[in-house]
């Protein structure tokens, strides 16, 4: 059987996808295959081999950033079975792909089976072995570590996928399990901080059922779903002197159970119709979330003055969150050159709940209250946009958006007969405009200029968009063997009120080129500069003094990547690549802060946080040799180097690689 071109392309890509862990690239290796069996065409490939790594420096940071280990893997597998006439007995199309099975930190499998007109089934399964060494400040060790395995799976079944009446069934599940390290402050604000072991156990299940009906040009879809989530993580610690030195507060034992279980049943509905001059679609979603929780915490230890302490905290309650969302999009096509769209969105979410809180110190009730909390967010947004193609080479678009948001909050608590009640409300309106120009002076060349300008009156946070503008340009040249794209974007935001100012400036420049002059050689190169500087006014305490200062952050990121592929006489493939990321920080030095007369300077950590220069580089190489039509040998290598300029406790360098055999048949 002479394999057709498309078959070859499919297999090439499957093989290319087989090796992303070491050097994620799309370059083709492997050879075309495909066998006809009965009424089906079957393509299959397996790549299995051994992965190795050596490293120096911070193993924790390596695990957080890269995390590949030693051992045998099924790097990838690929299977497709297609019926040749579209009338298979049980199915017409089956495709199964896997990646990293057998110990890689990133594993996945996807499956699709379908029979024309009768059914379609899609499955995605993924696993992420995630490790986080914890937050670090000034190079010091953090306290929140995470070493969990997260798996997620999605199953979707469609009955009669090509008919006017379809039915949907679906199931999704997510699990997160593993050890973690958390922390807690105990025995008052002058107490101590203690590390806690946490046994993370989280499960999410979602079931859904739906239907779609197409009748007289109108398509109506509905779906009913039930999402359940439960967390049964528990926390504990043996005797511990605490993290803060020169503090006599210590614990002798600590245990906390904090289960919370809940459901989020939901309805979704959608409507769609399209005619010659208009189209309309609407979407409605209602979710009624509800979660019940209990907390039982027991701590025993010694206080600051050597007094033995025992504390129990018991909390129980229910939180609810009904959320309603409705969207309506109307599109008009008065001429073939003009499209006008109007989009209206309404979102209303209310989060409320109550709980009882009781704290017992040395077996005596010391604090008890009942709390009620409410947070409501209602947003209405409307957007009208016109898209006009003036000539074959010139087009315009522009639009206006208005959003109105109301945020309401109620904090209530009752201690005995004392009632605390703090309602608050904030209204926020945003007016913004967008515009853009498209140019196609040559068929393969597209040039786009666009912008966005907005004015918001009362954003919730000082760092949110308030007075902003966003300007960008993009160029794309796409020829048969060469593609060049370049873009620039500047985003300025100024959020200033009477007592605080905040501004951010980001400027991005990037370019990417892909060149395939010969079928045996291709080159891909890219460069990006991402600049960000923010400046915010802050007030803080240090050594019992109040400072009015500034929080400055400057990041100048340069990222470059280069890949080259050589196909050597149709028998071997050589791939080399290099990725370089460098934040050069700021050369301006620390920015001064305002210090009241007679006060000492602010903590050095304020200056240390202004920039965070580092370098992360990763050269790689891969070689693939064809032994026979059905067998290839692959070998790959990738280096990772991470280096911070100010601190070096997290620096690492790692050599990773693999060797594998690929069978295709």
């Amino acid at each position: 059987m002479k394999p057709p071109l498309t078959t070859a392309v499919l297999v090439f890509t499957a093989v290319a996808a087989a090796q992303p862990p070491v050097a994620p690239t799309p370059e083709p290796v492997g050879s075309p295959r495909g066998e006809n069996v009965s009424n089906y065409n079957i393509m299959n490939s397996f790549e299995t081999g051994y992965r190795f790594r050596t490293f120096g420096g911070s193993f924790e940071q390596y695990r957080s950033t890269v995390n590949y280990g030693d051992g045998i893997r099924l790097f990838s597998s690929f299977l497709t079975i297609n019926s040749k006439d579209g009338h298979g007995k049980y199915f017409d199309d089956l495709s199964l792909t896997t990646q990293g099975l057998g110990n890689d930190p990133y594993e996945s499998a996807t499956l699709r089976i379908q029979k024309n007109r009768l059914y379609r089934y899609d499955m995605v399964w993924r696993l992420n072995d995630y490790y986080n060494p914890g937050l670090r400040t000034g190079g010091a060790a953090g306290f929140h570590l995470l070493d969990t395995e997260y798996t997620t799976q999605d199953h979707d079944f469609t009955l009669f996928p090509q008919s006017n009446v379809k039915f949907f069934l679906g199931y999704s599940r997510g699990n997160q399990n593993g050890p973690a390290l958390s922390s807690i402050q105990l025995f008052g604000s002058t107490g101590n901080d203690f590390p806690l072991f946490e046994n993370v156990r989280r499960v999410r299940n979602e079931y859904r059922i739906g239907n779609e009906v197409h009748f007289r040009g109108v398509r109506f879809t509905w779906m009913r779903g039930w999402e359940g989530f439960k967390e049964d993580s528990n926390f504990f610690s043996d005797a511990n002197p605490g993290l803060v030195k020169n503090n006599s507060t210590a614990i002798t034992s600590f245990a906390r159970d904090e289960p919370f279980h809940g459901t989020s049943p939901y309805w979704r509905a959608g409507l769609f119709t399209e005619g010659k001059y208009f189209a309309a679609n609407g979407r409605f979603t209602y979710t009624s979330g509800r979660r019940g929780f209990v907390l039982d915490e027991n701590a025993a230890g010694t206080g600051r003055f050597g007094v033995e302490l025992a504390r129990q905290i018991v909390t129980a309650g229910i939180a609810q969150r009904p959320a309603l969302t409705a969207d309506l999009t109307l599109s008009f096509f008065p001429t073939s050159r003009l499209t006008v769209t109007n989009h209206t969105a309404v979102h209303n979410i209310r989060i409320n709940g109550d709980s009882s809180f009781a704290q017992f110190d040395n077996a005596t009730l010391s604090v008890s209250y009942v709390a009620f909390e409410f947070l409501g967010i209602r947003t209405v947004a409307n957007e009208t946009e016109a898209n006009f193609q003036a000539t074959r080479w010139l087009g315009f678009y522009g639009g206006y958006q208005y959003s109105d948001r109301q945020i309401r909050s109620i904090e209530q608590s009752k201690t005995g007969t004392n009632l605390f009640n703090a309602p608050s409300e904030q209204s926020n309106a945003l007016n913004s405009g967008t515009f853009g120009v498209r140019l196609r002076p040559l068929k393969p060349l597209t040039i786009v200029f666009n912008g966005d300008i907005g004015r918001s009156d009362h954003p919730l946070t000082p760092i949110a968009d308030r007075n902003y503008h966003d300007l960008g340009a993009r160029v794309l040249y796409k020829a048969k063997t060469f593609q060049l794209s370049a873009s620039t974007r500047a985003n300025y935001n100024n959020n200033s009120v009477s007592l605080a100012t905040y501004s951010s400036h980001s400027r991005n420049y990037s370019a990417n080129a892909a060149w395939t002059p010969r079928d045996w050689f291709s080159l891909d190169a890219g460069y990006s500069k991402l600049h960000l500087d923010t400046l915010g006014g802050i007030t803080y305490f240090a050594s019992a003094q109040s400072f009015q200062g500034q929080s400055l952050y400057i990041s100048n990121l340069h990222a470059a990547n280069l890949t080259a592929r050589f196909d050597i006489r149709k028998r071997a493939d050589l791939f080399i690549g290099y990725s370089h990321t460098q934040d050069t920080g700021s050369d301006q030095g620390p920015v001064s802060v305002t210090i009241a007369p007679g006060l000492s300077g602010p903590p050095s950590a304020i200056f240390a946080a202004q920039t965070f220069p580092l370098t992360f580089r990763s050269p790689s190489a891969r070689f693939s040799l064809r032994f026979t039509e059905k067998l290839r040998w692959n070998v790959g290598y990738q280096y990772y180097g991470y280096n911070e300029r100010f601190y070096n406790s997290l620096d690492f360098r790692a050599h990773t690689g693999y060797t594998s055999l690929l069978w295709s048949f």
């Binding site: 078959t7 392309v9 499919l10 862990p21 994620p24 990646q99 990133y106 996945s108 993924r126 914890g134 400040t137 402050q185 999410r204 398509r219 879809t221 989530f229 399209e274 929780f293 309650g317 939180a319 969150r321 959320a323 969302t325 999009t329 073939s336 769209t341 979410i349 989060i351 709940g353 709390a371 909390e373 947070l375 947004a381 678009y397 959003s403 948001r405 608050s424 409300e425 904030q426 926020n428 853009g436 919730l460 000082p462 949110a464 794209s485 605080a500 990037s510 990006s528 991402l530 007030t539 803080y540 929080s551 990121l557 990222a559 990547n561 990321t581 602010p602 950590a605 304020i606 946080a609």
Partner: protein, 309 residues
């Protein structure tokens, strides 16, 4: 001698389609797939693997909705002219809007594509064939022209740079794809932000930020919500793609990020607005420079208004 030998072959190749037209008896201008395959065997030989083959396998669709001519239009003039891009709907010759309209004749009705006409991609002339290759797709699903990340990185080089940072979501590693969080066909206005920014972000259950699809423990509802999480979304504190800072934070040091909102100006911001609490700790003490050491439930808590447990 060689030319003489080729001439009958040419005639035969030309006559075959014409005879096929006579046999199919299709509607005006439509010739049927059997005619197309005569001159385009390379496309037809593997077309049974193409999702569009369903229209052929069905055998019940109208000529304008079957196989080649469902996209390329009636082929009669094309055959009579012995080929040529001027006599048929050739996508390489179409304007972007025409490509979009052509595909949307069948594909508009899926709800996930309902906002495609107002998507940023459409507004910037990125249409179906910019990302999809109908006849030479190298991936088993969705007929993408390249692997998804390669496609997206081709224009969004700055995003490639973000995913190359030391702390990032595992997209390059194959654990995630861009479309886990984004809808390249356009999405409704986000519920967690104002106006229509961002436009291309897919939404999770309850139309929340897509982050909550996986980080479901942060969905809540919590009795004590950290308001910015619900009002302005996760990117108030995190960069979603990648960062040089641990946990994708926007700042290398936690307390500066917290102080930029809890900046001591809360009382003057809007009178009776939702107030950010002013920090009152001694920041000269390293103990207080890592806020989340004590405020561990910073995304929301059921037990403590200050997120201490």
């Amino acid at each position: 001698m060689e030319q003489v030998g080729l001439r009958p072959l040419s005639c035969l190749l030309f006559l075959l389609p014409l005879s096929a037209i006579a046999q199919t008896g299709a509607g005006p201008g439509y010739v049927g797939n059997n005619v197309c395959r005569t001159c385009h065997p390379d496309v037809w030989s593997t077309f049974y693997k193409n999702p569009h083959y369903k229209s052929v396998a069905s055998g019940k669709e109208a000529p304008e909705q079957t196989g080649c001519e469902s996209c390329h239009g009636p082929g009669k003039a094309h055959v009579e002219a012995k080929g040529g891009k001027a006599t048929i709907v050739a996508f390489s010759e179409l304007q972007p809007k025409a490509i979009l309209d052509n595909c949307l004749r069948c594909h508009a009705e899926t709800l996930s594509r309902a906002n495609i006409r107002r998507s940023s991609h459409t507004l910037n002339d990125v249409v179906c064939t910019s990302c999809h290759s109908i006849h030479k797709s190298p991936v088993p699903k969705f007929l993408l022209a390249k692997q998804q990340t390669t496609l997206c990185y081709g224009c969004h080089a700055e995003v490639r740079a973000q995913f190359s940072m030391p702390f990032k979501h595992r997209v390059n590693e194959g654990f995630m794809t861009c479309s886990d969080c984004h809808n390249p066909h356009g999405a409704p206005a986000p519920t967690w932000r104002m106006a229509a920014r961002p436009r291309m972000t897919d939404q999770a259950l309850s139309n929340e930020e897509p982050c909550l699809k996986c980080h479901s423990e942060k969905r809540g509802p919590f009795l004590y919500e950290h308001e910015p999480v619900r009002v302005d979304g996760c990117e108030t504190c995190h960069y979603p793609h990648g960062s040089t800072n641990s946990r994708l934070l926007r700042r290398p040091v936690v307390f500066t990020m917290c102080l930029e909102c809890h900046n001591g100006a809360g009382l003057g911001r809007q009178g009776a607005g939702v107030l950010p609490i002013t920090g009152s700790h001694n920041l000269a003490d390293p103990r207080y420079q890592n806020c989340t050491t004590c405020h561990v439930r910073i995304h929301g808590s059921n037990s403590d208004a200050l997120f201490l447990r």
